[in-house]
Amino acid sequence: AVTVATGFGRAAWAEERKSIRIGYAISKTGPNAGGAGITTLPNYLLWAKDVQDAGGLELPDGSRLPLEIVEYDDRSSAEEVVRAIERLANEDKVDFILAPWGTGFNLAAAPLFDRYGYPQLAVSAVTDKAPDFVKRWKKSFWMLGGGHDYAKALAAIMADAGKAGTLNGKVAMVSVADGFGIDLVSAARPAFEEAGIEVVYDKTYPVGTSDFTPMINEAKASGADSFVAFSYPPDTFAITQQAQVADFNPKLLYLGVGTGFPVYAKNNSENATGILSLGGIDPANAANADYRKRHEAVTGIAPDYWGSVITYASLQMLQEAIRRKGLDREAVAAEIASGSFETVLGETKLEDNQLRKLWWTGQWQNGQFVGIAPGDRAGASQLVLPRQSWKKA
């Protein structure tokens, strides 16, 4: 259908167009499918449905064109990501490409987005190097902050609690030996030191570890009353369970990715209360609440409490920028960089191509995972420490 108008030149072709092509490569299979299937893919689907229901993407002239989605499975392989994006750009000639899932994959994709001139709204990528990247790839946008941001926020919380006498100033810490865990733990070490918190146990475990008993036992014996795990979803679930078996009740319990997953609350119900993690929401934000409801209604699963809403917001930004600037990718990128957008996060504006207004720390309270840090941000909830001991189900 796209090639009907060959020979008329680009302008003519643009006039003839019946749809806007949006493409993306996502891990539908392989080890990354679990993460991508929660944070990213449902939001792409939800957004596409929202746009279609509204009659298509609106262009500056007020007309609407329906979306045509081109989807590839990257099968959790970097090589596939690269290839899929090349194909989206060269063969499918899509108008915009949505970002893949995962820090590594977003980085692998970045030079291609850049070379083909597509804006890249990287959401599920946590990296401290974002300021460098935006210089290298002008049309790249990094929406989830870096390890330092999260680590500093946590250190501050712990330092305050230490001063208040709630915590003893000692922390036991484990991290997963993968990009995410290492980024965070290497940011956390200096942050904790600066905040005067003593790290009494600090170990890294390999991806795929299923038994955390030795680490929990060591942490329990270490004298720390705070336990921090920069973990991945399966680990997060396992640590929660195994800590209950071991009757390990640190006053502060901070877990990694997966804490904000809907299934986490479901499995742990009341026992989730008080657990800290990355991300969070403002429970009073009506737009967000509405988004969560729609997400669950449309995709059948609830969104997580960290990246999901930001993914959706990034798509809203893209949509709005297209409405303002049309299909010129340069202009759209510039608009995303400089414009201000009304999204499910509320008023959203990027600073230096990065989203900085984020919840660095959140906590399960009353069945919701609410943002508590930065505490001075509007809508922040109050931190509750120490957390309750495990209750028998």
Binding site: K28, T29, G30, P31, E71, Y72, D73, R75, S76, S77, A78, E79, E80, V82, R83, A84, E86, R87, T103, G104, L107, A108, A110, P111, K129, R136, A177, D178, G179, G181, I182, D183, S186, T204, P206, V207
Partner: protein, 282 residues
Amino acid sequence: MIGMLGYVALAIGWALFSGPTRYVSLATVAFFGIGAYTCAVFSEVLAYPLLLLVAGLIGLGVALVVGLATLRLAGVYFVIFTFGLAELIRQLVTWYEVNITGTLGRYIFLPVTPEGIYWQLLALTAAAFAMSWAISRSRLGLALKVIGEDEVVASHSGIDIARVKLGLFALSAVIMTLVGAIQAPRWTYVEPSIAFNPTVSFLTLIMALLGGANRLMGPILGAVPLFLLFEWLSANFPNHYSIILGLIFITIVFVLPNGVLDFIEKGWARRLPVAKPAEVHK
């Protein structure tokens, strides 16, 4: 295209050793990953050609050590050993990065264009193919076949099994390492789970097996259509990719009436240059 060439080169490299000797190796990704990682580690300090050289040398070194260790293993024990080896290397690299260098991912900012990668891979593939052609016609090729059939006969015929196996294993490893090193700049970011993705080993194996690991053209005949099949499936059936792919695999096995191995060996026998019955005179 680059991806396809990469797999063609990997499959040729794999078949170079595993084809005639029937030592099915799952260590492909170990060397591929070593190449990619070397590229990442030294990308800032070494000139590009030197980088490839260093990668090749490291691959060679590891292959020699591994080769020496695995000489005693056979059959499925060798298969799983090589798989374990790839995972062990991945774990050790991870552990080293985490505990010694304190970072996990590494960035590769090399001024290599996709075209550059493409031509390099093409040259490597051509070189690998030429090598496997030369070997298949040489004494070495016969030695490998004999080793694959019966090592006892091989050694009693005067073949130095250890040296032949080790040499070929190393050669095939160097090719795989170079594929990794050449391809790495394409990803910008390398971490163990990306560089040491076991899928690479499995795909290489399947491609070479289906094409016929014993035939000169086998790896190419396996890698190209399979690669295109993967592409076509993932482009057209992203949601049912697995199911269709699986069914195709099963069908392939069932359609070949005497099994895949027979199919491969028959094709191979047809190509055999020595002693056709007609040439024999009393």
